[in-house]
């Protein structure tokens, strides 16, 4: 089966996977960001959506989460097609899905504990004691309980990321959408974030969709990877299939380090044009 064929979501019913996005289109000011995107997320899996910056990865997640309304296409969750706008089906989906924002989107005027309690306080009829207990349980799992009275601004970047994850997990979601969880982190912390996601995925049993451009980490952690390029899903398959793929966009993304290496070598071998340095000195004087 060709790589391109893998990108198509199955037609007809949506019972095979937890989440299926089919033919999603979204344009801003006439410019198509998503141009018929398909995505299949098997239950219990970790799917990484790869792609260059600005290719619409976050827009795809926001369309799935309902923050943005797609211009066309459909999203099936647990066998049911979700309506594009608000409604009971969408509300039910939101109760079973969490979203971890790239910026964490923590409430800076609430303490760590209050941030984690917020979704339970506002969407359930649980007693306050039970809400506090559940929030502290999640904070304990994420090793944040001793910092529960601190405000987000008093926590380190990694702790804020864990706090955002705690808030996303406290409602015991079946699906967690991670929007660039490793953006701006150094390689060690990137590894730590992916390790954290896989660890808590096993402990808490959720399905995860991670949008990222960290190729190596994604290929190690993911059960399946998808490549979004120029508004279209160019590849969908296992990490092994991704490594073996000869498809142009996949090769371009996968071999970007090799390409860089070649470019750097070529640049260093390149002789400077005669007089270029002198011209620069004159210009900067």
């Amino acid at each position: 089966m060709s790589d391109r064929a893998n990108t198509s979501a199955p037609a007809g019913g949506c019972a095979e996977a937890l989440l299926i996005a089919r033919g999603l289109r979204k344009a801003f000011s006439g410019k198509a960001v998503l141009d018929g995107v398909d995505l299949v997320v098997p239950r219990g899996s970790l799917v990484c959506v790869l792609g260059k910056s600005g290719t619409g990865k976050s827009v795809l997640l926001k369309c799935i989460a309902g923050v943005l309304r797609p211009d066309a296409g459909e999203i099936c969750f647990d066998g049911r097609t979700l309506p594009a706008g608000a409604g009971p089906e969408r509300e039910a989906f939101r109760r079973r899905c969490s979203y971890l924002f790239q910026s964490n989107a923590l409430f800076d005027s609430l303490s760590a504990l209050e941030n984690v309690m917020l979704p339970l306080e506002q969407t359930t009829a649980l007693r306050r004691r039970e809400i506090t207990g559940r929030a502290r349980d999640v904070l304990r799992v994420l090793e944040l309980d001793e910092f529960r009275e601190r405000f987000p601004s008093q926590l380190s970047g990694g702790m804020q990321k864990r706090l955002a994850l705690a808030r996303a997990l406290v409602t015991r979601p079946e699906l967690v959408l991670f929007d660039e969880p490793t953006a701006g982190l150094d390689p060690l912390r990137r590894n730590a974030v992916f390790s954290m996601i896989t660890r808590y995925q096993v402990e808490l049993g959720f399905t995860a969709v991670v949008v990222t451009h960290d190729l190596e980490e994604a290929l190690v952690a993911a059960d399946r990877v998808a490549l979004l390029d120029e508004g279209r899903m160019r590849f969908s398959g296992t990490p092994a299939e991704f490594r073996a793929s000869g498809d142009g966009p996949v090769r371009g993304f996968r071999d970007s380090v090799e390409d860089l290496r070649a470019e750097v070598a070529a640049n260093r071998a390149h002789q400077p044009r005669p007089g270029a340095r002198e011209t620069l000195e004159i210009l900067t004087q």
Partner: protein
């Protein structure tokens, strides 16, 4: 030119419709909303406690100036004894609800617009939506509910302090008998005047807080502006529109009640 006027008119009508829907939904969302208590307490602090000092200060100086100006104007006609009537009716029917509302807009309304605008910018509002929490219910409803109670209280305090200010300038600094001043106050102000004061205060509270929340909530929709500049523009717009709305609705309510 006609096209520009038509475009701007349609834009204004669309925004008015959006604002009306926003306010209606925020009020509707407050019905049966879970755990609004803490948000309401916070809003009482935001609009009530924090604004009270400035309302009292402005009320006192307004009363002092009214007493001073009123005394000399009435003295020309030998009617200084009506100073209490002038000060009390001016304050109760007009100045207290209007100036108190403008003070709360300056102090709390601008802060609310900026806070919600920053929450929009930092995706906190999107986060609420993904959690299944209606951001209007969480961020706007408590503020509108509190405004219906806090603005009349501010207007009442403004009136009381203004009356004392009028007494200080008319009777303590000038030569009007204190008893004459207070008896004319009591004779002049009737239930209809108090009702007008409170009706105005409630309407101003709802309109101004809704405008401030709406502008912050839609900070991302400011054409050509993003980030901190969008928040700054929304805050300025919220204060300007609220101030205009106070004066415009004041005229409409006065016309209806006179």
């Amino acid at each position: 030119m006609l096209q520009t006027i038509g475009h701007k008119t349609l834009g204004a009508v669309a925004e008015l419709g959006d604002f009306t829907l926003f306010t209606t939904r925020a009020f509707g969302a407050s019905v049966g909303a879970p755990r609004l208590g803490r948000r309401i307490v916070r809003s009482i602090y935001e609009q009530g406690v924090r604004c009270l000092p400035v309302v009292l200060i402005v009320g006192a100086f307004t009363g002092l100036v009214l007493g001073l100006q009123g005394y000399y104007v009435l003295a020309r006609f030998g009617s200084e004894g009506l100073l209490g009537t002038l000060v009390s009716l001016t304050l109760t029917r007009e100045l207290a609800p209007v100036l108190a509302a403008l003070m709360v807009v300056g102090q709390a309304g601008s802060a609310i617009a900026a806070e919600i605008g920053i929450q929009r910018n930092s995706e906190q509002i999107d986060a609420l939506e993904t959690m299944g929490v209606d951001p209007r219910r969480y961020l706007v409803s408590p503020r509108l509910l509190v405004a219906t109670a806090v603005f009349p209280i501010h207007a009442a305090f403004f009136t009381l302090v203004g009356l004392v200010g009028g007494y200080l300038s008319g009777s303590v600094l000038l030569s009007l008998e204190g008893g004459i001043y207070w008896s004319s106050v009591l004779r002049a102000v009737g239930p209809d005047d108090v009702r007008e004061c409170f009706i105005k205060a409630v309407v101003f509270g709802i309109v101004t807080m809704a405008i401030c929340c709406h502008n912050g909530f839609n900070a991302h929709r400011r054409a050509g502006l993003t980030g901190a500049r969008a928040v700054s523009a929304s805050t300025t717009r919220a204060v300007v529109l609220s101030s205009i709305a106070v004066l415009a609705t004041d005229y409409l309510i006065t016309s209806a009640l006179v």
